[in-house]
């Protein structure tokens, strides 16, 4: 029995199935062409790329069109002045009333009706409401509220 490497014959004991090496190149080439086809889907992706391009163009179009549909500087000024007048109305009517109401309550006065409510339903005119507010403010000496 051989007990040293140098004594042993260097043979290949692994058996290869018959005809394996004859068929191997064809099998590999077949897989190469399949894997080549698998990589082809880049072509199949072309419609997707067209879709992406179309969407990009659409977005670009929106980018250019939307700014044109934004309000002009004049309309912005108009909106701004409208917002200011709204705020002024709020300050002139609602806030003083609320504050005054609280103040009156603090003074233990009977002021249970809601002036704003009456104004809203047209039971009191703008001028009357303003006059009423001013009178109350004078009474309470609360004019500081209007100061900046």
């Amino acid at each position: 029995m051989h007990t040293s490497l140098s004594d042993m014959p260097r043979k290949n004991a692994f058996i290869v199935p018959e005809g394996y090496f004859e068929e191997l190149p064809t099998a590999v080439l077949l897989k190469c062409s399949v894997s080549k086809e698998k990589k082809e889907p880049l072509r199949a992706l072309k419609p997707l790329w067209w879709s992406v391009a179309a969407c990009s163009l659409l977005l670009l179009g929106i980018w250019f069109v939307v700014p044109n549909s934004t309000p002009s500087s004049d309309s912005l000024l108009a909106e701004e002045s409208y917002a200011i007048s709204e705020l002024q109305d709020y300050l002139a009517y609602y806030v003083p009333l609320t504050v005054i109401e609280e103040e009156l309550n603090d003074f233990d006065m009977d002021f249970s009706f809601d002036m704003d409510f009456l104004h809203f339903y047209g039971e009191i005119s703008d001028a009357d409401l303003l006059a009423y507010n001013n009178a109350l403010l004078d009474y309470l000496n609360f004019n500081d509220f209007y100061e900046d």
Binding site: M1, L5, M8, A13, I15, V28, C32, S35
Partner: protein
């Protein structure tokens, strides 16, 4: 056929398949033996040989010609074999010794091995070596590949390869002499 001409033909779409068949006929048996000694099983070897040559086919344009074409092919084959063993270890969550034991058991059970008891003992002894040392041993002992070429294939210095082979030889001798 001159290697440069073969490479040119491999890069030409019209001559590619013909040249590739020639290349495979030249190299396939050596690549097969190299991988088979590492993974033992024929079916696993077949998969790895095929994936090696598919990579050669697909990446022939990347071959820079710094080494021989056959060296480049063996390098791919070695990587395939080592990656296969690495994945097998990860997949099975087993330490290195168990994978090698599985391969060793295959030598006993496979019908594709026609060696006698001594040959079986030698193959089992080779399987006790770490994967890279096993590669070095197989390449030198069975394929008689020069250390310089092995150095190109494995990216290891000639000195380290000689030392590795010497250590492998001693381990195997020791196992063969035991019992």
């Amino acid at each position: 056929m001159n290697e440069d001409i073969l490479i040119q033909q491999l890069r030409n779409e019209h001559s590619r398949n013909f040249a590739f068949r020639q290349l495979m006929q030249q190299e396939q048996e050596k690549v097969y033996r190299l991988i088979r000694r590492m993974v033992i099983d024929h079916d696993d070897t077949d998969d790895l040989v095929q994936s090696t040559f598919i990579k050669v086919f697909e990446n022939i344009n990347e071959f820079e010609g710094k080494s021989k074409l056959s060296t480049w092919i063996y390098r791919i084959a070695v990587n395939e074999a080592l990656n296969f063993l690495r994945h097998k270890r990860r997949k099975l969550f087993v330490p290195i010794i168990d994978v090698e034991r599985q391969l060793s058991n295959k030598i006993d059970t496979t019908s594709n091995f026609n060696g006698d008891e001594v040959e079986k003992k030698l193959q089992k002894a080779i399987l006790t070596l770490p994967a890279k040392q096993r590669l070095v041993f197989n390449m030198r002992y069975y394929e008689n590949i020069k250390y310089e070429e092995m150095s190109d294939i494995l990216g290891t210095s000639v000195g380290a390869l000689k030392a590795s082979y010497h250590i492998a030889e001693e381990k195997i001798e020791k196992i063969l002499k035991s019992n």
